[in-house]
């Protein structure tokens, strides 16, 4: 029988949750790296036993951990994220210029195409690549040195590169998103980049047609239709049908179009999930009801999914990297909350149940479907 492994990064360590294909009984293993913030963990799609973890601390800096046995044992790999050349400067909150400075790794994306290649999205925003399993890292500096770099500025959480999407068949095409610079695309493996923010509307910036400056929270795609991208922006849920050349809003009947994560169903390219949050000042669900919203029409028309989720007095948040889908025939959806709950649905979101209730605040959730 196939297995399921959920990788949970929290404010105080990493947890590995395992089950079989039925996904009803779970084994909880952890905390790994207790006391450390685990911003993200993700396994290689080519070798699921290889898992990377971004371990970080305000005291002791950035550590990258790698497991080659499915998260049972871990070894540190390289943590030297040096910007290429002279780092230059970007905008600060007050409009002054500030030098690029490395803070932490927000997101690790193992390659779809090569088992030893992994990408790291970091704060201050830059993209790094390792071709030796994390033993060494090099910046793909064409992104940071894009002509708009000096105009980039941090969002409230920092100027982080948090989303890395790979084209399923073309290793040279990547999409990244940066808060609060926007989305970018490369088609030459990361040497050159193009901003892909046309159609985004952000009341927080003066020029609505600005090439950069939009606060993109998360992008996702379905591998069967990689030209269709879905975006949860600071405000607005957006869709592109041309690989990011243009975007249009598909927020439709959502009770709030603010939120962080967005995910696409494993087998239905037009089925999309978001978690609406009241506003950027509240950061908790609308009306104290934890509801995942599902669109089966690629956006615009959304239905609330509530069965098994708290529908009163719930004031948790769900962060951008904290939602994932598995590949089982009956697609599983998973998300983690700032209250330490990890919820799962084994039926595409119709019903939900907590796997765990009392972990530290959840920063990231990824899932592996094991054969």
């Amino acid at each position: 029988m196939a297995g399921t492994r959920v990788l949970v990064g929290t404010r105080k360590g990493a947890f590995v949750l395992t089950s079989d294909e039925r996904r009803t009984d779970w084994k909880v293993d952890g905390p790994h790296f207790p006391g450390w913030e685990i911003y993200h963990m993700k396994g290689s799609p080519l070798n699921p036993d290889r898992i990377y973890a971004s371990q970080t601390s305000g005291w002791f800096g950035q550590v990258i951990q790698r497991s080659d046995d499915g998260g049972v044992t871990w070894e540190t790999v390289d943590n030297d994220f040096g910007y290429d050349g002279v780092p230059g400067e970007h905008q600060w909150y007050d409009g002054s210029l500030r030098p690029w400075e490395f803070h932490r790794v927000w997101h690790l994306e193992p390659s779809l195409h090569d088992v030893d290649t992994v990408y790291a999205g970091v704060e201050d925003a830059a993209l790094f690549k390792s071709t030796d399993g994390g033993t060494s890292w090099d910046e793909l500096s064409g992104l940071r040195q894009h002509g708009t770099g000096p105009q980039w500025q941090p969002g409230a959480g920092g100027m982080c590169l948090h989303t890395i999407l790979q084209h399923p068949t073309d290793p040279d095409t990547l999409y990244v998103a940066i808060s609060a610079a926007g989305a970018f695309r490369t088609t030459d493996g990361g040497s050159t980049w193009q901003p892909i923010n046309k159609g985004l509307r952000s009341s927080e910036i003066p020029d609505q047609d600005s090439e950069v400056g939009h606060c993109v929270h998360r992008i996702d795609m379905h591998p069967s239709n990689p030209d269709v991208l879905y975006m949860q922006k600071h405000w607005d849920v957006m869709r592109s049908d041309d690989a990011g050349d243009a975007w249009h809003e598909v927020s439709g009947n959502l009770p709030s179009d603010f939120g962080f994560p967005i995910a696409v169903h494993a087998h239905e390219p037009e089925t999309v999930y978001v978690v609406p949050i009241t506003s950027d000042s509240h950061h908790f669900p609308v009306d104290g009801k934890l509801r995942v919203y599902r669109s089966r029409t690629g956006g615009d028309s959304w239905e609330p999914l509530t069965e098994g989720l708290p529908q009163s007095h719930c004031y948790v948040n769900v962060l951008r990297d904290a939602m994932a889908v598995d590949q089982h025939e009956s697609c599983g959806i998973y998300f983690g909350t700032s209250g330490g709950q990890v919820y799962s649905s084994n039926d595409s979101g119709d019903t939900w149940a907590p796997i765990v209730r009392d972990l530290p605040a959840v920063l990231s959730v990824e899932v592996q479907t094991l054969s």
Binding site: P34, F60, Q62, T76, D80, G82
Partner: protein, 101 residues
């Protein structure tokens, strides 16, 4: 043979280095913050970047160095450490600063 320099690490770094209690280091040449940390990172490379910056070699802001009831955090990295640390009579203490409320 010169005595070993004793180094204590905060719990998070002891766990990462997989050590219990004090670390004993053979430090070649003059015993300074820099030479002790060089020897520590050579013996335990997983600690690279956790005590001092990989690029600048500067102490991380929330890390402190104590020895012999003194705060040595702001001393020059190449200043000699106290004689009792050099003699192995007192540990060189790497401490995570109290912060966070």
């Amino acid at each position: 043979m010169s005595p070993s320099v004793r180094v204590t690490l905060p719990p998070n770094l002891r766990a990462m280095a997989r050590v219990h209690g004090e670390v004993l280091l053979e430090v070649p040449g003059e015993v300074t913050q820099r030479s002790v940390l060089d020897a520590l990172e050579a013996e335990y490379p997983m600690l690279l970047g956790t005590i001092r910056d990989r690029r600048t070699a500067r102490r991380r802001p929330f890390v402190r160095f104590f020895a012999c009831q003194e705060d040595l955090s702001h001393d020059e990295p190449d200043a000699p450490l106290p004689a009792r640390v050099v003699a192995g009579e007192e540990p060189f203490m790497v401490v995570g600063a109290m912060a966070g409320g």
